[in-house]
Subunit: 155 residues, 2 copies
């Protein structure tokens, strides 16, 4: 665990997510953090995260957009309130809507740089714009509309 | 392999996809088929495909939308040409754009029914509208804009 990693501050019962939960041993365990005004996560796909030979599977890229988006939303909401990430009451987000444009095939083999910019923080909703770059070139653009986790998911 | 399954007709070199490739032993191996005018796939998530306890991970749902969309696009393109699925020249699609609305949390534990409707077939582009239902209730709506696989991905 690292102090700067958004997901490392999620409480244990919200740390099972396949995409970013530190307690999901089968999952991707995405790690997101601030770099100035933008959020960043570096993820290197496994060789089986393939679409066609040589290229990354789109559903994995959508998963990175999704979890980096909700993680950034949570961090942005804490920042908006001037509170430390992870302090109570917990501000954890889920995805209401996900949009992903695959601008070009994403080469498989090296690390991907996922970057987020907070476009809007309004009440329980945060909108995050995401890019994914490989070898310095943006291959994917996405948008996550994240909302604070509904009470029904917390029971 | 089954004659009715779209993905079982993909040529071997295009059957490694993490979401639907029959040759990807780590993958989801989604199987889609026609049921009248709609396409259907049934997928039961693993217990580790979790978002928060009790609910399915959104990135997995996006992956199901993605692969059911491209599979349906391929089948629709063959149908448009009046050809058998898998006949040469091959009509294989990739996702240009993916949109997913998470209408309500998707319960984890049972089978999900993924359904597709072809909204548009135009040149190299096919648009597919998707729903995912759990326990008879639609939890996810999605749209896939699929395009015939670009030559650069086939080398």
């Amino acid at each position: 665990m690292s102090n700067k990693i958004f997901q490392d501050h999620y409480p244990d019962d919200l740390s099972h997510c396949y995409g970013c939960g530190r307690l999901n041993e089968h999952g991707l365990q995405l790690k997101s953090y601030w770099e100035g005004e933008e959020s960043v996560a570096i993820y290197t796909p496994e060789e089986y995260h393939i679409a066609v030979p040589g290229y990354v599977y789109g559903g994995l890229l959508a998963s990175l957009v999704d979890c980096h988006g909700t993680g950034t939303a949570s961090a942005a909401a804490y920042r908006e309130e001037g509170r430390e990430i992870g302090s109570e009451p917990n501000l954890r987000f889920v995805t209401a809507s996900l949009h992903v444009d695959f601008l070009r095939p994403t080469p498989l083999g090296g690390p991907l740089e996922v970057r987020g910019k907070v476009a809007e923080v309004k009440g329980r909703k945060v909108v995050v714009d995401i890019t994914i770059a490989a070898e310095g070139e943006v291959c994917v653009k996405g948008e996550v509309i994240a909302v604070q986790i509904p009470a029904e998911m917390m029971s």
